[in-house]
C-alpha cells in the first residue's frame, strides 16, 4: 500500500522533471543524495570482492607469496572433500532448522496467548523483549554459568523434579541442544512480537462471522488466522533462518565449536581456519558458500513474502 503511494508520488515527481527537460542535476539528484551511502557500499564491496578472490588463491598469512598463486576453485573442491565438511553442513543446517522451527512455533503460541487483552498479558508483554536486548555473547555466558556444574542452577532444578543432571554443552550428545536452547531463549521474543503485530492487525469481521456460524477454533485458525498470518510468518522465517545459519556469537561463547568439532558450523570453521590458523584461502570457501546460500534463500523468501502479502490482503478486504 505505502509502496504504491511512493511510486505514484515518484512518478509525478518525474513527470514534472520531464516537463523541465530534465537538467542533469535533477536527473542525478537521487544518486547525489545517495552518494555518501554508495561510498560506504563500495567500502564494503571491495573487501567482499577481495574475500572471494582470496578464496581462489592459496593465500595464507604465514606463507609469503601465497596470494599470487591463483588456483581457481581448488579450495572449494578441497572443502567439499575434507573430513569435516559433512559434519559442518549437517550441523549448520540442523542448528538453523531447529532454532527457526522451535522459535516460530513457540513464538506463535506466545503471540496467541498475549493476544487476549488481559492485564497479566499486558504486563508480561513489556518484558518480552528483554532476552533479545542482552548481547548474545553475554546472554550465552549467563546460560553457560547456569549450566556450570559447581555454581550452576539448571542441574539442581532438574534434580529437584527427579531428573538426572545433564552435562549440557560439554558432551557431544547435548551440545547442539544446549546452544539451540540459548538461541530459542534469545530470539523467540522476536517471533512472538512480529506474529503478535500480525494478529493485532486483523480485521474483526471475518472472525466474528466465523464465530456466529459456529466454526470450531481449529477451523478458524486454519482457514482465517493462518493464511492472514503467512506474511508475518515469512518475515520471522526470513530473519531467524538467515541469522541462525550464520550464528556465531552463541556457539563461540558456549564452546568455540567444541566439544571436538561437534559444533563446527560454516561460520565457526571459517573463523578457525582463516583467523586462528591464518589460512585465509582455506577458510573463506565456507564463508563464501554460506553467503551465496543465504543470498539466494533470502531473495526467494523476500519474493515469497511479497506474494503472500498480496494474497493475505485479499482475505482482509
Amino acid at each position: 500500500m505505502t509502496g504504491n503511494l511512493a511510486s505514484v508520488h515518484a512518478s509525478t515527481l518525474q513527470k514534472q522533471e520531464v516537463r523541465a527537460r530534465l537538467p542533469f542535476l535533477v536527473r542525478a539528484r537521487p544518486y547525489l543524495i545517495l552518494l555518501p551511502a554508495l561510498l560506504i557500499l563500495v567500502g564494503i564491496l571491495i573487501p567482499f570482492g577481495m574475500g572471494v578472490y582470496y578464496s581462489l588463491t592459496t593465500y595464507a598469512l604465514n606463507r609469503p607469496g601465497s596470494l599470487d598463486n591463483f588456483v581457481g576453485l581448488r579450495n572449494y573442491d578441497r572443502m567439499i572433500h575434507s573430513s569435516g565438511f559433512i559434519n559442518s553442513t549437517t550441523i549448520t543446517l540442523k542448528y538453523a532448522l531447529l532454532a527457526t522451527i522451535v522459535e516460530l512455533l513457540l513464538g506463535l503460541g506466545i503471540a496467541m496467548l498475549l493476544n487476549r487483552d488481559t492485564l497479566l498479558a499486558k504486563i508480561l508483554q513489556t518484558t518480552l523483549i528483554f532476552p533479545m536486548m542482552v548481547a548474545p555473547v553475554i546472554g550465552t555466558l549467563i546460560w553457560k554459568l547456569m549450566m556450570q556444574p559447581s555454581v550452576g542452577i539448571l542441574n539442581p532444578m532438574l534434580n529437584a523434579v527427579g531428573l538426572p543432571s545433564l552435562q549440557w554443552a560439554s558432551v557431544p550428545e547435548t551440545a547442539l541442544f544446549s546452544v539451540v536452547l540459548v538461541d530459542v531463549w534469545m530470539f523467540t521474543p522476536f517471533a512472538a512480537l512480529i506474529l503478535l503485530a500480525g494478529l493485532r492487525s486483523f480485521p474483526r469481521e471475518p472472525f466474528e462471522a466465523a464465530r456466529v456460524d459456529g466454526a470450531s477454533l481449529w477451523f478458524t485458525f486454519r482457514n482465517l488466522t493462518l493464511p492472514m498470518l503467512t506474511p508475518y510468518i515469512i518475515i520471522v522465517v526470513l530473519f531467524r533462518f538467515m541469522d541462525s545459519l550464520k550464528q556465531f556469537d552463541i556457539i563461540f561463547a558456549m564452546t568455540e565449536g567444541g566439544p571436538g568439532n561437534t559444533l563446527m558450523t560454516y561460520q565457526l570453521t571459517a573463523y578457525r581456519t582463516s583467523i586462528q590458523y591464518l589460512r585465509l584461502a582455506q577458510g573463506l570457501p565456507y564463508a563464501v558458500t554460506l553467503f551465496f546460500v543465504i543470498y539466494i534463500t533470502s531473495q526467494y523468501l523476500v519474493k515469497f513474502w511479497g506474494k503472500a502479502q498480496r494474497r493475505a490482503a485479499g482475505y482482509s478486504s
Partner: protein, 287 residues
C-alpha cells in the same frame, strides 16, 4: 451451560499458566544474573537463593579489586571497555545517520533505475555472513593502520547499523503523504528545504527509535571487535569472555559486568516499545 462456564474458566487458567511458564523461562536467566552479581565470592558455591547481598563485585569491576590476585584479566579494564562500547556504538549510529537518512529519503521518494537493486544490496548486508567481509578486512586493516582503531571498527559496523536505518527510515518516509510535499513544492520551496523542514520533523520519533535500536545492535556485536580490534578498542562484549576463561571464582564479577553491560539496552527497550516491531523487522511489519 454450567459446564461451559467452567470449561471457559479452566481454559483461561491453563492459558495464563502457560504464559507465566514461558515468561519464567524468558526472565529467569536475567534475574539469576542479577542474583549472581550480588553474591560474595565466599557464598558463590555454597548457596543458591539465600545469601547476604553485597556490592563488592560492582565495586571491584568499576574501581578495581583490593583483593585481586595477580594475573586476573580485564578487571580494572572494565570502565575503559564500557567507554569503548559507548564510543564505537554512538560513532556507528552517527555515521549511519549522516549517510542513511538522505539515502532512505532518496530510496523512498525517487524513481531511478538502480533503486530496488541498491535498496536490496543494503539489505543484504544485514543477512550476509559477516566473515566474508571481516576475513579480508583483517588483512586490509593491518595494512592501512585501521586495525584496532575506533575508525576501523566504526566503519565496519556500518554493516549492522546502516541497513537498519535505511530500511526503517525508508518505510517511515513512505508513510508520509506526498500531498504535503506537493503543496510545498507548488509554493516554490526547493526539495532540500522541504526535506529538512517538513519531512524530517515528521519522521523524528521513528528516527529516534531506529537510531536507538541501531545503537543496541552495535553495542551487542561481538565478532567485529573480536577480529578487527585488540586492547585499544575492546568492547564489553569481548571483555565479558575474559572473566570466564579466567579462574572460576570470578563468575560473580562476570555477572556484575554483564548487568552493567546490559543496562543501556534495557532502558532503550523500554523507551521505544511502540516502535520496536517496525525497527526489528526493518520496516516490513508496521506494528
Amino acid at each position: 451451560m454450567e459446564t461451559q462456564v467452567i470449561n471457559k474458566r479452566m481454559g483461561r487458567i491453563i492459558a495464563d499458566g502457560l504464559m507465566v511458564a514461558y515468561f519464567l523461562f524468558a526472565l529467569f536467566p536475567i534475574f539469576w544474573m542479577v542474583l549472581m552479581s550480588l553474591k560474595s565470592t565466599d557464598e558463590l558455591f555454597t548457596t543458591q537463593f539465600v545469601f547476604k547481598p553485597t556490592t563488592e563485585n560492582y565495586h571491584a569491576i568499576l574501581f578495581g579489586d583490593p583483593r585481586a590476585a595477580a594475573g586476573v584479566v580485564a578487571k580494572q579494564e572494565f570502565p575503559r571497555n564500557f567507554m569503548n562500547s559507548v564510543i564505537i556504538s554512538s560513532g556507528s549510529v552517527l555515521v549511519s545517520l549522516l549517510v542513511g537518512v538522505p539515502a532512505a529519503y532518496a530510496l523512498a521518494r525517487y524513481n531511478f533505475k538502480a533503486k530496488e537493486n541498491l535498496a536490496f544490496t543494503f539489505l543484504s548486508f544485514r543477512f550476509a555472513p559477516e566473515l566474508v567481509v571481516i576475513i579480508p578486512l583483517s588483512v586490509i586493516y593491518r595494512k592501512l593502520g585501521l586495525y584496532d582503531t575506533y575508525y576501523g571498527t566504526i566503519w565496519v559496523l556500518q554493516l549492522i547499523t546502516l541497513p537498519l536505518l535505511i530500511w526503517v527510515l525508508r518505510s517511515y518516509f513512505e508513510d508520509i503523504s506526498p500531498d504535503i510535499e506537493q503543496a510545498a513544492m507548488v509554493d516554490g520551496y526547493p526539495w532540500w528545504r522541504i526535506f529538512w523542514r517538513i519531512l524530517l520533523p515528521l519522521v523524528r520519533p521513528g528516527l529516534a527509535a531506529a537510531s536507538l535500536l541501531a545503537f543496541v545492535f552495535a553495542w551487542n556485536t561481538f565478532m567485529f571487535p573480536l577480529i578487527l580490534g585488540a586492547s585499544q578498542v575492546q568492547t564489553v562484549t569481548v571483555s565479558a569472555l575474559g572473566y570466564v576463561s579466567s579462574a572460576q571464582a570470578f563468575f560473580n564479577r562476570m555477572a556484575a559486568a554483564s548487568v552493567i553491560a546490559s543496562f543501556p539496552q534495557m532502558i532503550v527497550a523500554l523507551s521505544i516499545q511502540r516502535y520496536l516491531i517496525r525497527g526489528l523487522s526493518f520496516g516490513a511489519v508496521k506494528g
